[in-house]
Structures are given as structure tokens and as C-alpha cells.
Subunit: 349 residues, 2 copies
């Protein structure tokens, strides 16, 4: 497998085959690990960084579970490729900075990716379609256990797994679910959700993770706490709360569809009409319109398009993806033209 192959294959999570795909886009769980007896990345000099990198690459090659894995050295790839991998949620933005001695291992179906030498030596991530916390954790745990047999991770009986940033110390685990909450957002109930979950050890962020605002009704909810609770407690808590949020969104959809049916139908069809006809369209308008269409598919208003189609267009219309498809960097205004072309190509059947 080569990096460019990713562009033309369907990531596992796009398929929208997971539980509650009407509201939940994807579930991700990652654990942060460091190799015992080696300086942490930010403290290490080049030689030490190179050494841990080699050690981890060997470990991944040894792993049976990560057999079909593409290994990418971040310094070897273009800035466009870096942004491309960030857009696919395969690595963090931070991993694109100071990229010497950093690498990324990507398992073929894009379910598993491992960042090597991010702020921790190793960050293992598993992604699943829909609302699928326990299954995602099961895969993480299995691979983590195998890697731990090969590498010796830094662990304290008092604190748990040790990490570069203290917020991750303990389980080293962060689990998150990407939710599509158009009706909670529209009816201003999202504020309540936001306030409630922050009291329950969870946080809510926008589509692109830590440093962006929520856009187009897509929200990522994750645990905040890594210390003092077992993985199972944290996952149970997350699962229970997200199940409630999903239920709240579903009820709100049903209720609004009863009360303001024509308005909803109008909004969905107008959005579809605009996407199928626009010749210039920005990324943020695209996300907004796709949000309405995703809702329309769930409400049974649009028959000739699937949630999987919406997920795909959402992914491919991002700036770096558009440029990868085009084969070269494109200026923002020209991207808006290419984006509209791509959308029509995907949606007009």
C-alpha cells in the first residue's frame, strides 16, 4: 500500500455501518504510551529520538496484529500529505510540526493508526464506524497488549501509564465519538448538552478536533479524565452519556418532524439543490449543507443518497483531499470551484 492509495479506497468508518450511524459518525479510542528507560520526545536529543523511533518501528514490524501496515516517516512526505493525513483523522496536527524522527503507521483499512514520536513515544488509535465504544476499545486493548509484550512501557503502580502531558497520565486513554446533532444545535439545546457533559468529565469539540470550533452541527465528545478511573469506568461513563445525547437528538428529530415538517423538508431539499447546482462553494458551506442532507437521509426524505455518500463527500471536499485528488496544490478560490465540481460528480447521478 502507498499513501496515495488511501485516496481511492473507502475507509472503514465511512461506510456508516456501525450502530446509530444516523447520529454517530465514528468512534475513536487512543492510548498514549512511552517506552521505559528512554527520554520522552520533548526532552530527548536527536540521537535519542532516532533510537526510540527505530525501536518502535521494529516493534510494529514484529506485531502480528499490525501486519498490513503502511509506515510513513513524516519528514519524507509533503505538507499536503501531512494535512491530508490530519483530515483523515489518522494523525494529529501536532504530529505535523517538527517532523523529524516522527512517523505514522497506518493499517490498511484505516481502522488502526499509530503515531510514533508525537509528544508520547507511541499513540495507538483505533477508529470504528458509528457509536461503537466497546468494540473500538477491544481492538485498542488487543493491539496495546501485543505491543506491550514487545516494548516495555513506562508504568507507575501509583499513577498508571506515564505520559508526556499529565492530563493523559493514568490510563493514557482518550475515547471520543463524533456526533451529528443538527436538531439539538438548531433548537439551541446543544448548550445544555455542553454544560451537562462538562460536569460529567467529558468535553465537546468541533469537527477537526482540539483547535477548531464545532462546525456544521458536527461535535466530538470525549473523556477528559485519564487519572483515577479504570478504562472500563471511563468508557462506561462515556457510553452512557452519549447514548442519552443520541436519544435526545433522535427524539428532537421526531418531534420537530411532527411540528415543523414542511420547514425541515424545505431545508433538506434546498440544501440538496444547492449542493447539486453550485459552481463555487466553500468548505464551511459544504459542511453546513451536508449536515442538512445527512438529516434528510435519516428522516427518509432523500432516497437516492446514503449516509455513506454523505460521509464520503464530507471527507473528500476538505482542502487537502481536494488538492490530493487534483494532484497538486490549489489556491483557495480554485478549490471552491473544484469542490463544487467534485460534489456534483458525486451527487448528481
Amino acid at each position: 500500500m502507498k499513501l496515495n492509495d488511501l485516496l481511492y479506497k473507502e475507509s472503514e468508518w465511512l461506510k456508516a455501518e456501525g450502530p446509530k450511524s444516523n447520529v454517530a459518525i465514528s468512534t475513536r479510542v487512543r492510548v498514549a504510551r512511552n517506552v521505559a528507560g528512554h527520554l520522552y520526545f520533548n526532552r530527548a536529543n536527536s540521537a535519542a529520538r532516532a533510537e526510540t523511533l527505530e525501536m518502535m518501528i521494529k516493534a510494529i514490524k514484529k506485531s502480528k496484529l499490525l501486519k498490513k501496515t503502511l509506515l510513513v516517516k513524516i519528514n519524507d512526505i509533503s505538507n499536503l500529505d501531512k494535512r491530508f493525513l490530519v483530515e483523515r483523522h489518522l494523525m494529529s496536527r501536532e504530529h505535523t510540526q517538527n517532523s523529524e524522527f516522527k512517523a505514522l503507521a497506518i493499517e490498511e483499512s484505516e481502522i488502526v493508526s499509530v503515531m510514533l514520536n508525537e509528544e508520547d513515544h507511541l499513540r495507538l488509535q483505533v477508529m470504528q464506524s458509528g457509536f461503537n465504544v466497546m468494540e473500538t476499545w477491544r481492538i485498542v486493548d488487543e493491539i496495546d497488549t501485543e505491543l506491550e509484550r514487545i516494548l516495555h512501557f513506562d508504568y507507575s503502580d501509583k499513577f498508571g501509564y506515564l505520559t508526556s502531558c499529565p492530563t493523559n497520565t493514568g490510563t493514557g486513554m482518550r475515547a471520543s465519538v463524533m456526533l451529528h446533532l443538527p436538531i439539538l444545535a438548531m433548537t439551541a439545546q446543544i448548550e445544555n448538552v455542553f454544560n451537562a457533559i462538562s460536569k460529567l468529565g467529558l468535553t465537546m469539540r468541533g469537527f477537526y478536533g482540539e483547535d477548531t470550533e464545532a462546525s456544521g452541527d458536527f461535535f466530538q465528545i470525549s473523556n477528559q479524565v485519564a487519572l483515577g478511573h479504570s478504562e472500563m469506568d471511563v468508557l462506561d461513563n462515556l457510553e452512557r452519556i452519549i447514548r442519552k445525547i443520541i436519544h435526545k437528538e433522535e427524539s428532537a428529530r421526531g418531534e420537530l418532524f411532527q411540528k415543523r415538517k414542511e420547514e425541515l423538508i424545505d431545508r433538506v431539499h434546498r440544501s440538496y439543490g444547492t449542493l447539486k447546482n453550485a459552481r463555487i462553494i466553500t468548505s464551511s458551506e459544504t459542511i453546513k449543507l451536508l449536515s442538512a442532507i445527512r438529516l434528510g437521509v435519516d428522516l427518509g426524505l432523500l432516497k437516492d443518497i446514503t449516509i455513506s455518500d454523505v460521509n464520503e463527500v464530507l471527507l473528500l471536499t476538505q482542502p487537502a483531499h481536494l488538492q490530493k485528488i487534483n494532484g497538486e496544490e490549489i489556491a483557495p478560490y480554485d478549490r471552491d470551484l473544484k469542490r463544487a465540481d467534485l460534489i456534483r460528480q458525486k451527487l448528481v447521478k
Copy 2:
């Protein structure tokens, strides 16, 4: 012919077969006349009003040129029918007020209509498709000459034709052309046009005539002066100036299509997409979107729709038309639903 038949036949002016139909919707010329020796409408009592009405109805029945004419007594029709006739530009809003002893004669193809007992005893109007001032006048003049042989019109050697309002005294003629000027409006050149023509004895008004603002880039330009100039002078002046405005709009279209092609294409297709997909739409949004589509047809961007289609939808989506099609009065919100349905029915092929 019955009044309801109008709904299901194509008015002559809708066909968009007249000169410069890309910019000019229609040309109208009307003359105001009063029968000599009879009190003018506003001064007359009921008996006198009834008498002039009878006299004029007889004259119209005698006329050979107005043979295929439907005669409607305004008091006999519903308020909905009154608004319907106003929307078709067959009579003025004023003619719907105090409607006793008022009537309207409509010639089958809707080219000719005659208001009886508006503020003047007789107002003869001729409407033609496109920019067609002289031909429209020719028809008015022919019918006016015939009617003058039957009725004796009030005429002063000093002033010309005498009318109820002094602004009409002289020729009693008002000629107007409905123009579609989206690019002059978009590029803010319409203000210049407005200022220029008001110095040249012309006025500019919105789509529905005297008392409404210009909406959706449609402007009606007419002569202001009836006194001290011959009909030919007034028509020549109007024709010459409107020819310039049309040319200005055409050049501006060409220029903008060169400079901001993608933007124009985007706007046209988005408008088309919205019209074909909306489920709720107001009258004013409809006019705005149809304006973009009319432009798109002229620029060759939309192949499966004609200017005539646009004219038809523009006419039929007006409030009274929608209600006539529906067979009964409908509340505004429900009209917005019915309007969207009708538009899809007409545009989605």
C-alpha cells in the same frame, strides 16, 4: 370566453417573442379618454355613472376591432378575481376600489383591455411582448380611432384630450416598457439610469406599477409627460432612451460574463437548484431567483428552460394566481407551499 379561461391560456406577452425579449418583458401603451358632455367619473352620481357605463359597453360591442371581447363588471366578481386581473396587468389597482359602475373589457389574446369608469370614462390599453413601442402604439391608435367614431371624446384644441387628472391631459397617453436589468442593478448602475431618465421626462417603477418598489431586478419605465408633445415625440423619446438602457444592460452582461464568469454561473445554477428543490417559497424570493434564471437563459447557461417558461412562472406564482389555480383563497403560509409545488411542477421536467 370566461374569466377563468385566462388562467389556462398563454397571454400573448408571455411568449417572449417580441424584440429584445432577453431584456424587455413587455411594452404597454394606454390612452385615457372621456365622453364629451358627461360628468367625469369622480364627479358623477350613480345615474350618470350607469349611463356612461352603458354608453361605453355599447360602443365596445359595436367595435369591429374589439369583437372577441370578454366584458366583466367589476362589482360582479370576487376580490380574488379582481387581484387576479391586476396581477395580469389587465387593470389597475384603483379599478378594484368602489367598483360599482366599473367594468373591464378583455380581448381574447389579452393584447387589448379597456377599463370602463376608472378615473376616466375609458382607458384603453394594449400590451405586446418585448420591446415593441411603435407596434403597440399602432394597435392603440387604430382602436382609439374606431372608438372615437362611435363615441365623442372630450377634446380641447388648446390642451388636447381632457382627463380626470391633469397629468394625463394632452395625449392622454402613457407608454411603458417592463425591463429586466439584473446586471445594472447588481453593479449599482441602476441609480444612474434612474437619475438620467427622470431628467428626460421618464419615470421608473417596480414590477407591480405605481405603488410598489422595484423587485427582483424588474423595472417599468414610462413617460411622465402627456401635455405639450405629440404622441410620436413622446414615443420616439421613450424608444430612444430605452434602446440605450437595453444596450447598457447587454454590454454589462457581456462584460461581467467575461470578468466574473464563474460567479455568474454559480448564481444562476444555485437559483435554479433552489427553485427546483424548495418546498416553501415566498413571492419575493421567487422573483429574485427567476431573475437570475432569466439572465442564465440569456447567457446560454440554462438549456432546458426558455424565457417564456420564466415569464409564465413569474405570472402564475403571484398570490392571486396561485389561489385561482387552487380554486379558493389560501393563507399566506400555505401559498408559500403551493407556490413551491407549482414551481417544481413547471421547472422539473
